[in-house]
Amino acid sequence: MRKRALQVLLVEDNAGDARLLREMFSKEPSGSFELSHLTHMREAEARLKAGGVDIALLDMGLPDGHGLETLRRARAAAPDVVMIVLTGMEDEALAAAAMKEGAQDYLIKGQIENRALPRALRHAIERQRMQREAELMRKNEVELRDQFLSHVSHELRSPLTSIYSFSTIIADGLAGETTQQQNEYLQIILRNVRQLQSMIEDLLQVTQAQAHKLTVELESVSLNEAIEYAVDTLRGAAKDKEINLSFQSSARLPSVYADATRVRQVLTILLDNAVKFTPAGGTVKVEAREYEKDGSMMQIEVSDTGCGIGPEPIERIFEHLYQVTDPGHAGRRGLGLGLHIAKDLVTRQGGKIWVTSELEKGSHFFFTLPIFSLAGVIRPILTQEKSAGDSLALITAEVECRDGSPEVPRKTLDVARMVLQQCLRADSDVLLPNIGPLSEHKRFFVVANTKQDGAESIGRRIQSQLRGHHGFQSDNFNFVISHSFLPPLTRDANESMETFAEEVASEVRDQINNVCLQGAI
């Protein structure tokens, strides 16, 4: 099979650089490369969209495109084309950032050897092909396994349904009177049905965790609410065993930067275990306080007066499928997946989890989560030296349903967040995580470090990207985008970036509260 010539698009505005690169290709056998050359990003985007390009060489400093933005625009125009970026000698950091954004390689101008260029191109193409294949294989594998598991769990649930329904029919006397002993035995059946059911759920959960399908989306989460929710969930089970389950918190705890669903899930797993392993009349307690080793974290503690964990199992208790096999405590109490899932979830939210325990006295499980700090989110876009005319704008994008329904589907909000993220310039804009009550989550806030006219252009870009995205069943949603500027703030020479960030965050908070008109944060 004769290979067709590789179509190379060179986007470079410096005539000298372009000539040098062109010469390097001229030494290659004819028919191996075909080079076309453009000088502006706008032309390049059109050319890339038109198709037929195999590989693009992008200068990162074009008259109408700068830095990573060049790469992002090129990739948006043609996601399948292999991108190699051209950077200056002092720009290794930019090159590294470009690789993270999906460039296959980078070349430093002035250091490209003659033969190296075509080779780099061929390698880049080969590398991308291999990545694609590996990705595809992995995807197929995961899909097959998911299908299998969902099938198995369905098959298990059906007979379980009938066992449950007929046991309760007999227990409730719908099939004639039962003796007290029969009733006791039926309760044993039902207890086992519940156990089997939660095993099936665990099984699905852990496979999702392994496929990293248990998504974790960080936002500002009320720790009080999450703990109260989990405690309420376990209240019934605790009462049945006459266990005193309590959460004492005198003050409002700080919000954490975490995923509300996942925090509840971790707490539920820990509380469920605590209740399970604590004898009747015992105590299970939840407490939360600032983590003493790191003031930027909260520490949540779940303690019980249960059977405790011996020194050997305590080492392995967070492992996959590990179970404490103590005959005295009926080992078959689950698949041993709960703590493994909890560890996975805590780690992915930036915290850690550990346990201290004493046999026959009880266990203390601890985990940490980062305290939510608006200043911490904004800090990266604040430049060391502010140039004249720069200012900070707060851009608000609100998604509305055209049919007037107050609830925007969660999926739509997820897509909107993703699209917004893509509209931003790294290093100068930041999309704030969800803040405040759920009803506010259809509003997105961007803090942009921009010149006065820049905010409008970012707003326009967001509007057009959202409108153009196929994820929005085109006509169902409106996007209301507005912006306001923060009062000019300057950092004093002796003021630390941290203090300055706090100052900015407090202004942002005020502005957001103005927009929401109800003191959301």
Partner: protein, 138 residues
């Protein structure tokens, strides 16, 4: 007051019998269908007050039953509760989009099933101990 009529559509005879005993004990009339085609025929014949619908069915799965119900002027007013062993993820949204009132996963506790039935049949009068969010009763 005459008893409310519930059409149970499930291909598993054990599930059908279990639901029959439970629903009769709570003073509902129960009629059955074991596949997709029969479910439409029975619905036409009896005009039930409510349909409890499984998803995995022979002769037209639950989704196609929903589709045909909703396309029929007379039958489209019958509220449907989907009761399935399939995963909530994906199936719940799809069922609700196709016109089901809610999605319950098998096995569903009796109290929850009965509370949801009461809410669907008579949203005003029912005062179940636990009020479920019909859109997402889990």
């Amino acid at each position: 007051m005459s008893q409310k009529k519930i059409l149970v559509v499930d291909d598993d005879p054990d599930v059908r019998l279990g639901l029959q005993l439970r629903l009769n004990a709570n003073h509902y009339d129960v009629i059955f269908a074991g596949d997709g085609v029969a479910s439409i025929a029975e619905a036409r014949k009896h005009m039930p007050d409510l349909m409890i619908l499984d998803l995995g069915l022979p002769a037209g799965d639950g989704f196609s039953v929903l589709e045909r119900l909703k396309a029929n002027e007379k039958l489209s007013s019958i509220p449907v509760i989907v009761l399935s062993g399939r995963d909530r993820v994906g199936n719940r949204d799809r069922a609700i989009k196709a016109g089901a009132r809610t999605f319950l996963q098998k096995p569903t506790p009796n109290e929850k099933l009965l509370a949801v039935i009461r809410m669907v049949l008579d949203p005003k009068e029912s005062t179940p101990e636990v009020v479920y969010d019909l859109a997402d009763p889990s």
